[in-house]
């Protein structure tokens, strides 16, 4: 149907999958998010292709799909939040423990600040680009990222004092 879209999707789906996994912390939900992203992207593929940076378009679509999903299932986030380990209770270590610790730390953040941190420090977007994708002000991004980093630092413990400052 659309070879160009197929090539783009195949090239980018793994990276989008990783981003989605960081956002939601669950492989199946991450796959669903990527699928939803592709469906939405394909529906407006003409605009996405015409955009200067199709990747930014895709990231925006993914983050919005995630936030929409969170809005629809707000309770599930609150429920998950209850079971996250308390600050400092988990000693970070290598391998699987480290992954769990990072994902747990991310889950302590509300959806939008979590998306901000991921866009800023995983996707390496600027404050301006992050604000544009999330539809908020640059000041909001800065303040939320600062608070989120403080929370993450507390969650991740002394091993990760080299966290990047906002």
């Amino acid at each position: 149907m659309n070879e160009e879209f197929g090539e783009y999707a195949r090239a980018r789906q793994h990276h989008l999958f990783r981003t989605a996994f960081l956002l939601c912390g669950d492989r199946d939900r991450a796959q669903d998010l990527v699928q939803t992203t592709f469906v939405n992207l394909l529906r407006s593929w003409r605009s996405a292709r015409a955009a200067e940076n199709p990747d930014a378009y895709a990231k925006k679509t993914l983050v919005r799909a995630f936030l929409d999903e969170q809005r629809k299932s707000r309770r599930s986030w609150e429920h998950a939040h209850l079971f996250v380990d308390k600050p400092g209770s988990t000693a970070p270590a290598d391998g699987a423990d480290l992954r769990v610790t990072v994902l747990n730390a991310l889950r302590t953040l509300p959806p939008k600040p979590r998306a901000m941190v991921i866009l800023r420090y995983w996707e390496d977007l600027s404050v301006e680009e992050t604000a544009r994708i999330l539809g908020c002000s640059e000041g909001n991004v800065k303040s939320q990222c600062s608070r989120s980093l403080a929370a993450l630092r507390t969650q991740l413990g002394e091993h990760f004092t080299e966290l990047v400052e906002a």
Binding site: M1, H14, F17, L22, R27, Q31, V102
Partner: protein, 286 residues
């Protein structure tokens, strides 16, 4: 270890996903067709509803003759020409069905409903007055097209086969090339666009004894194939076929076909159709 490295570490063991692009394309295609079918159903329902409301239930039957054609009294046609979505055709029966308000084509149902719904829709659309389209029930030998449904047109004491063929995407049922100038002049071929968007070609294919109408959207190629072995079928003209293909009810049939309600098929070819038609004819003759 900075935050990027932490995130990288947290996600570097994720397994590769299967290719999601084809699934996304299929979802988008189905949504488009569902939307289109719904719009067509609404349009048809609106036209039929308005037409029905304009008729007084106690008034004597109005002439259903359109374009000089005869009235089909036995069919109980009671609609006026202005109520028809397809001027030029005999109109749907409503009085005979106990106050039914339209052709009864709902655009929904199970796979088993498609032959009946399609037959009813085609009966309402078919350009010959007093003709009835019934499901043929048989399977034609075929090898190429994804889905088809065979019907029989009963008209004037005779009958002839009619086949709807559908093909998703760029499959075996390729759209015939547009007519050449010579073909257009001969009157045996007509091509253009439906709704100003979808290319169609209607043609006589003398070699196979077929009268065909094809059109193609971005998702589907559809063909109405009419075998010309009965004298009654000779009266069908290319413009009439084009009008049939362009009708809202026909768009509904396409929607149902893509929603997997037409029996899947291994295919059908013109030569296979012609051979089957010959067989049918010889059986009738004997």
């Amino acid at each position: 270890m900075n935050l990027y490295e932490l995130f990288d570490n947290a996600t570097d063991n994720l397994a590769e996903l299967p290719d999601l692009a084809p699934v996304a394309e299929r979802i988008v295609r189905r949504r488009r067709i569902t939307t289109r079918s719904f719009s067509a159903a609404c349009a048809a329902a609106l036209v039929i509803g308005v037409g029905t409301l304009t008729l007084h239930p106690d008034s004597p039957p109005l002439p259903a003759t359109v374009g000089g054609g005869p009235v089909c009294g036995s069919a109980g046609a009671t609609a006026s020409a202005s109520a028809s979505p397809n001027p030029g055709y005999s109109l749907p029966s409503s009085a005979g069905s106990g106050g039914a308000t339209g052709p009864g084509f709902t655009g929904s149902g199970s796979a088993g409903d498609f032959p009946q719904q399609a037959a009813q829709a085609l009966t309402n659309l078919w350009p010959e007055s007093c003709s009835t389209v019934v499901s043929a029930g048989g399977i034609y030998p075929a090898t190429a097209v994804e889905r088809y449904q065979a019907f029989e047109v009963l008209a004037g004491g005779g009958s002839y086969p009619l086949v709807l063929r559908f093909d998703e995407g760029t499959g075996a049922l390729a759209l015939r090339q547009t007519c050449t100038a010579t073909e257009e002049e001969s009157g045996n071929c007509k091509s253009g666009t439906l709704n100003g968007a979808y290319p169609y070609t209607a043609s006589f294919s003398d070699g196979y004894g077929l009268l065909t109408f094809q059109y193609q959207t971005s998702d589907v190629t559809m063909e109405v194939t009419l075998l010309e072995f009965a004298p009654a079928a000779d009266a069908i003209t290319l413009p009439q076929l084009v009008e049939v293909g362009d009708s809202a009810l026909m768009w509904n049939l396409v929607g149902l076909a893509i929603e997997d309600q037409v029996p899947a098929n291994n295919g059908i070819t013109p030569s296979g159709l012609a051979a089957e038609a010959s067989s049918v004819q010889s059986q009738r003759a004997s």
